[in-house]
């Protein structure tokens, strides 16, 4: 048993610094596509993409204490914008992706504006409701979105002359996007804004009495999270060459939430690890049993009940001998 951390040390705000093991993991990640099959590279590419979205949700959940159940809305908005602009308007996929970030940021701004004044269950339900609204729109507006069939046929673009059709190139695009997102989000968390966000999570009444405009800080966090979730969505669309209302489902929002909880909310890297564990388990477990969702449910309960810091908390405790 690792001893409990001394009670008088402040809750460290994890995820603020680069840890040594992260550098090692990055080294392994660079080697991976050269030792793995294209299938194995593709699987980890997907992990990078989902990790970006999970980390963006962690900014809201882990640091801001804003448990949003509608994160798929931003992921889906980024994915749809990328595919629609590319397929319907003939934009390059990169321009589509760039515009997708703006679209998902905008969607997050609108949803955030309407949600941030709510607290607790109302907040949760409202974020869920807005995501469902986008889902319905994607289903109904067949002329634009292709309805439940979605829209496909988008060819992977090239970057600097290297075609993403090559699984290794696609992999490195995912890896670079992931590392840059991690660095950017880490920077946000270390910034005055990030500290304010944590303060709001801890005690909103005091923060307001000190002069922090609580709603505006939360709204800004929403937009930032929305843009990164949109990046995940846009990359996912490029990766698949395809988007369907699956990218906007309630189930996907739940998946992001589970990735965060499983990996450990409020640590950035934790939810990224959560994304990895989730996707790899899904890949292997669902091949052998039909009870995938049951297993997901059990993991979720176990995390919430016994495993507060998630996988990341466990790593930190082992690494620091219980002092974390």
């Amino acid at each position: 048993m690792t001893p409990l951390p001394p009670k008088d040390t402040p809750t460290r705000i994890p995820g603020r610094r680069t840890a040594g093991w992260e550098v090692v993991a990055l080294g392994l990640a660079v080697v991976w596509p050269f030792v793995a099959s294209p299938y194995g590279a593709g699987l980890v590419t997907e992990v990078f993409i989902f990790a970006i979205a999970a980390m963006s949700l962690d900014l809201l959940m882990g640091y801001g204490g804003l448990v949003s159940f509608g994160h798929a809305a931003f992921f889906g908005a980024g994915a749809y914008a990328t595919v629609l602009l590319t397929m319907k308007l003939g934009w390059s996929a990169w321009a589509g992706l760039g515009a997708g970030l703006a679209v998902s940021g905008l969607v997050a701004g609108v949803i955030g504006y309407l949600c941030v004044r709510m607290a607790g269950v109302a907040f949760f339900m409202l974020t869920l409701a807005f995501a469902q609204l986008l889902f319905s729109a994607a289903m109904k507006w067949r002329w634009l979105t292709g309805g439940s069939d979605g829209i496909g046929g988008m060819a992977r673009p090239s970057l600097l002359g290297l075609p993403l059709a090559d699984s290794r190139t696609m992999y490195f695009v995912g890896l670079v996007a992931f590392v840059l997102s991690l660095m950017a989000l880490r920077r946000v968390i270390n910034s005055p804004f990030g500290h304010a966000l944590v303060g709001l999570r801890e005690n909103e009444a005091r923060m307001r009495a000190l002069g922090y405009p609580a709603s505006r800080v939360k709204l800004a966090a929403f937009v930032i999270a929305g843009v990164f979730a949109g990046l995940g969505g846009g990359l996912y669309a490029i990766y698949n060459g395809f988007v369907s209302p699956d990218a906007l489902t309630f189930g996907l929002s739940g998946t992001f939430l589970l990735m965060v909880v499983l990996g450990g909310a409020g640590s950035l890297m934790g939810p990224a690890i959560g994304a990895g564990i989730f996707l790899l388990m899904k890949q292997f477990v669902s091949a052998h049993t039909d009870h995938w969702l049951l297993i997901v449910g059990l993991i979720f309960i176990a995390c919430v009940m016994f495993f507060r810091g998630g996988v990341h908390g466990l790593i930190e405790r082992l690494r620091t001998g219980g002092r974390a």
Binding site: T9, T11, M207, G211, Y212
Partner: protein, 251 residues
Amino acid sequence: MSEATPLLRLEHVNKAFGSLVVTRDVSLDLAAGQRHVIIGPNGAGKTSLINQIGGQLQPDSGRILLDGRDVTRLPPEARAQRGLARTFQKNTLFQRLSTFENVRLGVQARFGSIFDLASRALGRDDINDRAQDILARLRLNHLADKRVSSLSYGDQRQLEVAVALAGDPRILLLDEPTSGLSPAETGQLVDLVRTLPAELGVLMIEHDMEVVFSLADRVTVLYYGEVLASGLPDDVAGNERVREVYLGASI
């Protein structure tokens, strides 16, 4: 700003919770440099009044002015940005964060840029130094790295004041800052209030009569939400009705 404009002015403020009137036609002024103490029995509506000044509670009618500007409808954060700071009767701290970060957040609120996303919050020496200074002034610097929830009640009580002072306010509202403090700690707090910047206006709720009379240059007595008497400490202490309903035999 003219001489006649007080830092803080309340004009005919009223507030009721259902049929319970907690503030009844309260008007008062707080001038720069004043040490104005509000006393009154439990449930008199003292905290409710501070909450209305701070913006945590909306009055039903009447006006609240800061520097002559109507802030009655402004949220707490807007009032804080105009130089109003407060403590809470019930400790309202960031329990899981360090003592230092508690004060640092208070400094950052007014001396940092809240929407700065790119620089390092802990890299601002001016803000760190100011937070350290305030901790030192309240003799809390040895606790800087401790988690607040591990601090003694008395230390947390003092931290309440430290956090409020962090933003270098012009108006300070203190809601029973000495409650639960040991006599020694109470003495320290009285000394602290004495050494606050001369131009700061302080409005303070206090039960301990010794503290009241050692600090106050003006005393207001609240009774069932109403101002029973307001004036120089000696005049208030000599007031017949005050003696009857509140101070009783204690003076």
